[in-house]
Assembly symmetry: C2
Homo-oligomer: 328 residues x 2
């Protein structure tokens, strides 16, 4: 399969008008593509329009905004949305049967080399492509939420996915300013959700076992680790902790200590008691602020953090080019 | 024990002239305290002075800077550094016997109600206070590195630690602009290092099992999760993912999925092969840039991120006070 390049200003169909689907639609429309969102719910048009206009200023700050843009449009019918599409972004609910049904319905309406990118966070691409006439076109492109704000997109192929499809999709998302992560093989939760789950597991353990309040555990991340992780990844932190000897020195000096911590990490189960302690804890930590308010604040502040980080990356690149003495 | 309040401009002794000790010394001196650093190495004076002047502009941006400051001074001898001290910050190498010896030596030189705050990341405060004449004064105050930049300080008491000592220390660190996390009981790695270790364990697993490159795993955090975690803690993220129903709704809808991810997380051991794959991976991810350059860049960029975050928090507080409609 030579995957079809997605032409500038081409047609993109988004399957599903949930949060992720609408977020993708805004991303693509802002970049100058003609976007149709398929969803049976007639309220979709209004929510689609709202999301688009909310997302546009965010995309102008941290994403790719074309000069010529058009609002994405709603289609009640899958086939209508997909007719003539150059790229399909699937964002239906996380049920395998539902997704397979949709793929069976749209395949006759699209060219044989049109990529179907699934937003699934939990399903296997191998399971999903089973039954397709052209399974090699199917891959997972999983965003962080909201897709128009967060730079990372994870690409995962199934057993039948063509390398050309992954390359084309990677190139496409990069053209939208995204940082593409390519998984070499499937894993439950891909990469990003596994990392989130790993951190959260210990947070849940420490809270539910009464070592610290949820508010303090949250602050350990928001006031401490988060800003550092935005600059320095989880392995680089220990590479730097090794000083001139780097990660090798760190392993020599503190490898056993880290293994001792690893051995002591918790493995909580989400019992009723554990759930209750977390729910009470997060209510207290957030002072009972409604989720909608928190979510709006998060998106605005994360955009600020990403914009600040973009500024740093730009500066860093410039410094490298100019080889400023302070950097050496 | 009624712990002695640390008077403004009072005397602080720092035991140990390593990175952490020098970082604490700069923090305290910039806030107007008279600081002595005890270390047998005569090079300490120069490194102390260098650290202080490097740290000062950082502290001016993100910390507490007094109008009247004096450079911290070096003392070869523990007793000389501690004579008349109002507060002791221990930052010696991580060996229990070494720390205990130092405590035995300094106790006769300081008042009975002077707090000894250990920077230990790995030792137990109960083990450390054993043998002290006034064990109730000993607690752990563990910073993130460097202490003058990172806002978080973890407080952990041992079995004999007085509540008044913890309260006094909390108040003191808060007066320095720190966010104090209070552990309710001891745990290996306290809280921050356990959270770091939990995230890193899965990063090591995904890299060493060949699911993704170290560079992509680092980017999952630096380009994705980090900026979000700087704004929204590990539990709040799932609280918001539950929409109007919050964390309770999230548990109902996706609890089993999270438990499936948890069950699949890796438990790597730091074998020679695993170490080698990580060392090679981080070399590739950092393009072989020397650790010293990376560390300087990290500190500068983390300061930028923290300053940006401080701006947000300030803005948020102002918005709440003014009750702006966009926040509700």
């Amino acid at each position: 399969m030579d995957a079809r390049e997605i032409p500038e200003g081409g047609r993109i169909a988004v399957l599903g008008g949930g949060t992720i689907g609408l977020g993708w639609a805004a991303t693509y429309a802002a970049a100058g593509y003609r976007v149709a969102v398929a969803d049976p719910d007639p309220d979709t048009q209004e929510r689609l329009s709202d999301t688009f206009w909310e997302a546009l200023p965010v995309i102008e700050r941290v994403g790719v905004r074309s000069a010529a843009i058009a609002e994405p449009v709603w289609q009640a019918d899958l086939d209508d949305a997909c007719a003539g599409a150059d790229f399909i972004q699937e964002a239906l609910p996380e049920r395998l049967s539902l997704k397979r049904e949709a793929f069976a319905r749209i395949e006759p309406a699209i060219g044989p080399d049109v990529i179907i990118a699934s937003s699934s966070s939990g399903l296997s691409p191998t399971d999903m492509q089973c039954g397709l006439e052209h399974p090699e076109r199917l891959l997972i492109a999983h965003p962080c939420n909201p897709p128009y704000l967060m730079p990372v997109v994870e690409l995962v192929g199934g057993e039948a996915t063509a390398a050309a499809a992954l390359d084309t999709a990677a190139h496409f998302y990069e053209s939208l300013g995204k940082r593409v992560l390519r998984l070499k093989r499937e894993a439950p939760g891909h990469l990003v959700n596994r990392l989130q789950a790993a951190l959260w597991r210990e947070a849940v353990h420490m809270a539910s076992e009464g070592y610290a309040s949820v508010a303090d555990i949250e602050a350990a991340v928001t006031e401490g680790l988060g800003a550092r992780w935005a600059v320095c990844g989880p392995t680089a932190i220990f590479h730097l902790a090794g000083g001139d000897g780097g990660l090798g020195k760190f392993f020599d000096d503190l490898g056993p200590e880290v293994e001792r911590w690893w051995a002591d990490l918790g493995a909580p189960v989400l019992s009723e008691t554990v759930r209750r302690s977390l729910i009470d804890g997060i209510e207290e930590a957030t002072g009972g602020t409604p989720v909608e308010t928190l979510a709006k604040r998060r998106d605005r502040h994360v955009a600020d953090m990403i914009a600040a980080k973009r500024g740093l990356t730009k500066l860093q690149t410039e410094n490298q080019i100019q080889n400023l003495p302070e950097e050496s």
